[in-house]
Subunit: 122 residues, 2 copies
């Protein structure tokens, strides 16, 4: 089935707006929906954060797991995690003193579908 799809995606859910770029010209509205997702990932620190969370045991990691991987202050990492969370890429769950982050599969799938069918043209 794929994701209902077509050009007009659900304006409520930015993740639904991921018809492959190669399939048809993306509308301005859809582009405005999807761009923030990509913008959130388009940073070396956030790329690594996302990768760390995704590849961490159980698919989740707390901030304390992530901090040691960087030469950055704790507030800076917290800021980047917030950007990823606000974009809908990471889920956030507080358990006791620790906060655990987990990637949202729907967001990952959305990004994936964006670039589908464009790598093997004619």
């Amino acid at each position: 089935m794929s994701m209902s799809a077509g050009a007009g995606c659900d304006p409520d859910d930015p993740l639904a707006c991921c018809t492959p770029l190669a399939r048809e010209p993306m509308s301005a509205a859809d582009a405005e929906q999807v761009a923030p997702l990509l913008k959130a990932v388009a940073d070396p620190v956030r790329l690594r954060l996302l990768s760390l969370v995704l590849s961490h045991e159980g698919g989740e990691a707390c901030v304390c797991d992530l901090l040691p991987a960087f030469d950055l202050s704790q507030p800076t990492i917290s800021h980047h995690l917030k950007v990823l969370h606000d974009a809908g890429l990471l889920d956030r769950e507080k358990r006791g003193v620790w906060v655990y982050y987990r990637a949202r599969p729907a967001a990952m799938a959305a990004m994936l579908s964006l670039f589908a069918d464009a790598g093997v043209p004619a």
Copy 2:
């Protein structure tokens, strides 16, 4: 097969550095290589430009094909195309008076592979 891969990618080719994010923690070096690609796409105008080029007849489009789709000045579109080109996402070919842009399949494949295996976790 896939792309040789591992954590250490070919530093000469940023497009080679696309082990899926979920597979292992991305190195700082790889993140610095890949982030510019994503940054280039992380803009609504450039997303649409890329989509227009990809979905255009023959997989290529000249600037004159692209301009009418936007309410932006010609220099602004030219700027965005340059960003996409400099990032390695678009190839540029001048034919007569017109300049044709075409998506680089390797770049598209690189982005695709980045998000592979992250959408369907456990």
